[in-house]
Amino acid sequence: MLDDFFIRAVLAGLGVAAVAGPLGSFVVWRRMAYFGDSTAHAAILGVAVSLAFNASIYAGTLLVALAMALAVSVLATRGQAMDTVLGVLSHSALAVGLVAISFVPQARSDLSAYLFGDILAVGRTDLALIWAGAAGVLALLAWRWQRLLTASVNEELAMAAGIDPRVERMILSLALAVVVALSIRVVGSLLISAMLIVPAAAARGLSRTPERMVGNATLIASFAVLAGLSASLRLDTPAGPSIVTAAALIFAVSQAFRRG
């Protein structure tokens, strides 16, 4: 079954959708959209580093994404305006990544695979890594669920309950870096944050509790993967952008059914 490239693509996409639901919900709740963007853009730099050192793409992007998350956390506590810091880091990371990758001859040719993903080229090893990473992130979020949620609702209330909001923030940064690394083959650096934000935003208006929102976001993301991949196969459109387009259409429809 795994011999079929389309089946592998579907399974890889569903693996990303499984983490995009819960993590994307936190990105929406904590207004981390731009933060997700800068971490994802840093992944291009990670690709350049991995290719230059002949290392695994996953390891390289994970390291650079972690470094980026750390840099943002440090700068944010220095009293800079957060959106400015993120604007600087996000676009710089993308630009530096693109410059760096131009020095790696073999990567120049398939640059768009890293920017927009190449889900149809996902192999068995990729699939195993994606699902292992997704399982790890889901276990982490499930373990910290009540704490993460309390810290997202209100940091003072969290502190009064003995929760350190800084620890929870670090955990989300770590989860985000892992998700960026494992989705780079699937949707690429430019569309990762779309996969996080669009399904969660669509689920927001349809959900009354955080848990329902996570469930709905995961369903929407999974449906977008299936719809996007089918469309891509029939219409010969690029797979990653087709998945995000499907999610965007669901978002548009969801706006008609908002429950406030």
Partner: protein, 254 residues
Amino acid sequence: MSALIEAKGLTIHRPGSHDTVLQGVDFRIEPQEIVTVVGPNGSGKSSLIRALLGHVPLAAGRVARKAGLRIGYVPQRVQVDTTIPMTVRRFLSLPRRVSGDVAARVLTHTGVEEVGARQLTQLSGGQFQRVLLARALLHDPHLLVLDEPTQGLDQPGIVAFYKLIEEVRRQTGAAVLMVSHDLLVVMRASDRVICLNGHVCCEGTPQHVSSAPEYRALFGAEAEGTLALYQHHHDHDHDHDAACLHPHHHAGAS
């Protein structure tokens, strides 16, 4: 120790600098007491609360909390992001899950038993404050700490909220530590008032504080109103009028 919380010589600096927010503050609260902290903006009221709860580092001094002390806390200006879908019922189960019975009990206690299924964002200001108070009452606290719990409420709402707090104290026996701007209502509802302005200006019974010159210097015309309240009350009891005018019980004045 009999006190629930006792602090000596609290000094707090603004984060990342050596500006002093609070200097040499002594504090204690006994079981079942209602203590209110008043003071102008920036006088360190919230910092005092957060130091007593152990949320901010101390530059000097120490805080002792009674062993096993359970605190129910309502922070200042709680804003719940509209991006998080959250029913009142679900909110009560954060971070510790509580049973439906317990949730219904605390909501009834604070007079908002009908809002359990509603979204936090759909509550009025008064309902939201009552939900926060209900949440603070979970797990049977010995002490309720409320930082400006009536902010954003209208005058009848404020009066009703203080009535509720007195009622809760009567029913649960919890002590109450509050920060407040509502001088007039505070003076009626508290056992003891602490007037703060970077240090303790004056403290004591509401009657004592409202006649203290330090208090009147800080609050000006508004203070006259609270003094009038007591003078009015004392029309029937003429013995103490003279005592109010010179502050002989002065704790910590400087």
